[in-house]
Amino acid sequence: MVAIAKKPTMPSKDKRWLIIDATMRRHGYVGDSLIESLHAAQEAFGYLDDETMRFVAKSLNVPLSKVYGVSTFYHHFTLKPQGEHTCVVCMGTACYIKGAAELLTVLEKEYGVKGGETTKDGKLSVLTARCLGSCGLAPAVVFDGEVAAKVGKADLLARVAKQVAQ
């Protein structure tokens, strides 16, 4: 890997850029650390926007097209900001067999958003997960990072209503 002649300047004074830079520095700014760097960036900002991708591309000396390619290849990375609250419905096999698809239908009816979408007011993002590995507790739903087990339709709506009201 070619050493970088000049490091790009931070896009702003936001401290979060320093966190991303620290991750890249720890890996010696090698192109191989692209995924690690994108993880750090998404954790800091919640999503990857153009500015972030440009900054990472320049810092690691990899083409922007590759950064974009990797960011869009992996499901974990998102290019859009998420709502204030998230509700992740697990769509793994065990959850599917136990009615996870119906949970999504219920949410769509109530809030008008499908899996992967955010409500217009930016309050709620409904997401789907491939499998949380909580198959013994199916169907599982994650409300703002907290896993809930054996979620029924009424329970789901009550919890989401509570989230959105916050």
């Binding site: 192109g31 692209l34 992996y74 793994g92 096999t93 065990a94 979408e117 491939r130 590995g133 507790l137």
Partner: protein, 558 residues
């Protein structure tokens, strides 16, 4: 660290544990944790202190105890000669007072009792999971006290790398990731390969929906995996290891990080392990949600910071792997089997299981079964024993319909094969695969065509897009399945679906594509009537053979 120091550490930890007259173990693996078992643990600790029993009674967080359906689980062991164990189920923080009171008066709380003399516990044989639910995963001392790292010490001090490979070959261990390739053979290939440095990679990208064995092992006994990797490094001559773990498993990642730090501090990882020239460092690499990265060449590409796309083999990773160097890739469970094999010898392991599938296998029981959770059984146990004895049968008085093994790469096995022994070859014979160990049980209410469609949708979105048969084929098959479910298809569509299955199976580049037709083929084979019931008959008009929509480009919707 020397052997004496290891023994001293083990002794100290054992003494420390022996001091307590009672040990209260609370499951803090992801399953029970989502039912607030951390609060249960805190409440128990507080109540023990309140009762002034903190010197006699030790409360600790442990890994998975298996019966996730009844979580949070708490076990109370009296460290007397009899070692009586009482297990409690569905414990809430409010129950803490009653439980502590029960310990004090030696009167177990009947209301919360979870019987342990039932088949779910008694029919299991634990090798991989022997420490799960027993030791505190965040304390290396407890792992060492349970004979941890003694196998690594035995290897580096008394066995040559060749002898280690020989023991693994003798054990008959086959890759637990699903394909079942001989682990010993893989190790010997990497050991013989020319080139330095060599790498050892642990595949912890458990992408198969419905499987959580690897997650439980990493959360409950991370040192077991690290020890297996270090032994592998000694055997093949590697100096650097990577654990490629899903970003969706934050708790497993956290515990692995703690475990690596402790292991380096004690000197069982890092430079000059046990004072020998062996030096081995382990780093964590996070996956980013791509099922295809479970394929070894795709996983290697991902560690290199690329898109996770597989490449043709040969050359196999054993010759040209990570950064073009010889690389050993094994699954979490495979590595977790290594320490006991080296401790007890290859023959010991080979005595368990069937002729061609040795040892035990962990399974994640889920779906329509009473006892959902994590189990480990000897190879060769029948599906009926696993589902109806250990699993406790189908809830709500419903009837068993099929069991799905191997996730999107596996198949659905109907009732007529319930008495078949579970091993690699028997499962393959009926059109499924062992897979990593997910076992989803379905009852009469599940539509098998819909299950096939579910898996095909999964494969379609997870196809990396590199080779045409998989990228286009999975999309077309998914469209055909949707058409069948919508009641718009004819017999000709089913014929086309079968032809497509055959083509995708034989021409795809990697395992994802090659096995993606399995759920369709197996349901067509055993549940054909369900497909036929959905078909339109020619005489009803509309033979509308609409071409399925093309455009397999994976659009990102998030």
């Amino acid at each position: 660290m020397t052997a004496e120091e290891l023994e001293t550490l083990a002794e100290e930890s054992r003494n420390e544990q022996a001091k307590a007259r009672q040990t209260v173990r609370v499951c803090v693996a992801a399953g029970c944790l989502s039912s607030k078992s951390d609060q249960v643990k805190d409440a128990l600790t507080a109540k023990v202190k309140e009762a002034g029993m903190e010197h006699d009674c030790c409360v600790k967080g442990v890994g998975c105890m298996g019966l996730c359906a009844a979580g949070p689980l708490v076990s109370v062991t009296s460290e007397t000669a009899t070692k009586k164990e009482v297990m409690y189920q569905l414990v809430t923080p409010n129950d803490a007072g009653e439980i502590v009171e029960g310990i004090k008066n030696n009167k177990p709380v009947k209301r919360l009792d979870c019987p342990t003399d039932v088949p779910f516990f008694s029919r299991q044989k634990k090798i991989v999971l022997e420490n799960c639910g027993v030791i505190d995963p965040e304390k290396i001392e407890e792992y060492i006290a349970a004979d941890g790292y003694s196998a690594l010490h035995k290897c580096v001090s008394t066995l040559s790398p060749g002898q280690v490979v020989e023991q693994v070959q003798k054990s008959g261990l086959r890759g637990r990731g699903g394909a079942g390739f001989s682990t010993g053979l893989k190790w010997s290939m990497v050991a013989k390969a020319a080139g330095t440095p060599k790498y050892v990679i642990c595949n912890a990208d458990e992408g198969d929906p419905g499987a959580f064995m690897d997650r439980s092992v990493l959360e409950s006994d991370p040192h077991r995996v690290l020890e297996g990797m270090a032994i592998a490094a000694y055997a093949v001559g590697a100096t650097q290891g990577y654990i490629y773990v899903r970003a969706e498993y934050p708790l497993a990642i956290k515990r692995l990080k703690v475990a690596i730090r402790h292991a380096e501090r004690v000197g069982v990882l890092g430079a000059s392990i046990f004072g020998t020239p062996l030096s081995f460092k382990v780093d964590i690499r996070l996956g980013a949600g791509a099922f295809v990265c479970g394929e070894e060449t795709a996983l290697i590409a991902s560690i290199e910071g690329q898109r996770g796309q597989p490449r043709p083999r040969p050359p196999f990773p054993a010759q040209e792997g990570l950064w073009g160097k010889p690389t050993l890739i094994n699954n979490v469970e495979t590595f977790a089997n290594i320490a006991p094999i080296l401790r007890n010898g290859g023959e010991w392991y080979a005595a368990i299981g069937t002729e061609k599938s040795k040892g035990t296998k962990t399974f994640a029981l889920a779906g329509k079964v009473t006892n959902t959770g994590l189990i480990e059984v000897p190879m060769g146990m029948t599906l009926r024993e696993i589902i109806f004895q250990i699993g406790g049968g189908i809830p709500d008085g419903r009837k068993f319909k099929a069991v799905q093994t191997g996730g999107p790469s596996g198949g659905c096995i109907p009732e007529q094969f319930l008495d078949m022994p579970v091993d690699y070859d028997s499962l393959a014979k009926v059109g499924s695969i062992m897979g990593s160990g997910g076992m989803i049980i379905m009852d009469e209410t599940s539509s098998m065509v819909d299950v096939a469609r579910f898996f095909m949708e999964f494969c379609q979105t997870e196809s990396c897009g590199k080779c045409v048969p998989c990228r286009v084929g999975t999309t077309q098959m998914h469209e055909l399945l949707k058409k069948i479910i919508a009641g718009k298809a004819t017999a000709a569509d089913v014929k086309l679906l079968e032809e497509l299955c055959d083509m995708v199976k034989s021409t795809s580049l990697c395992g994802l594509g090659q096995t993606s037709p399995n759920p369709v083929l197996s349901t067509l084979r055993y549940f054909r009537k369900e497909y036929e019931d959905l078909l339109q008959h020619e005489d009803e008009g509309s033979n509308g053979h609409e071409p399925a929509t093309a455009g397999a480009g994976k659009e990102k919707t998030r």
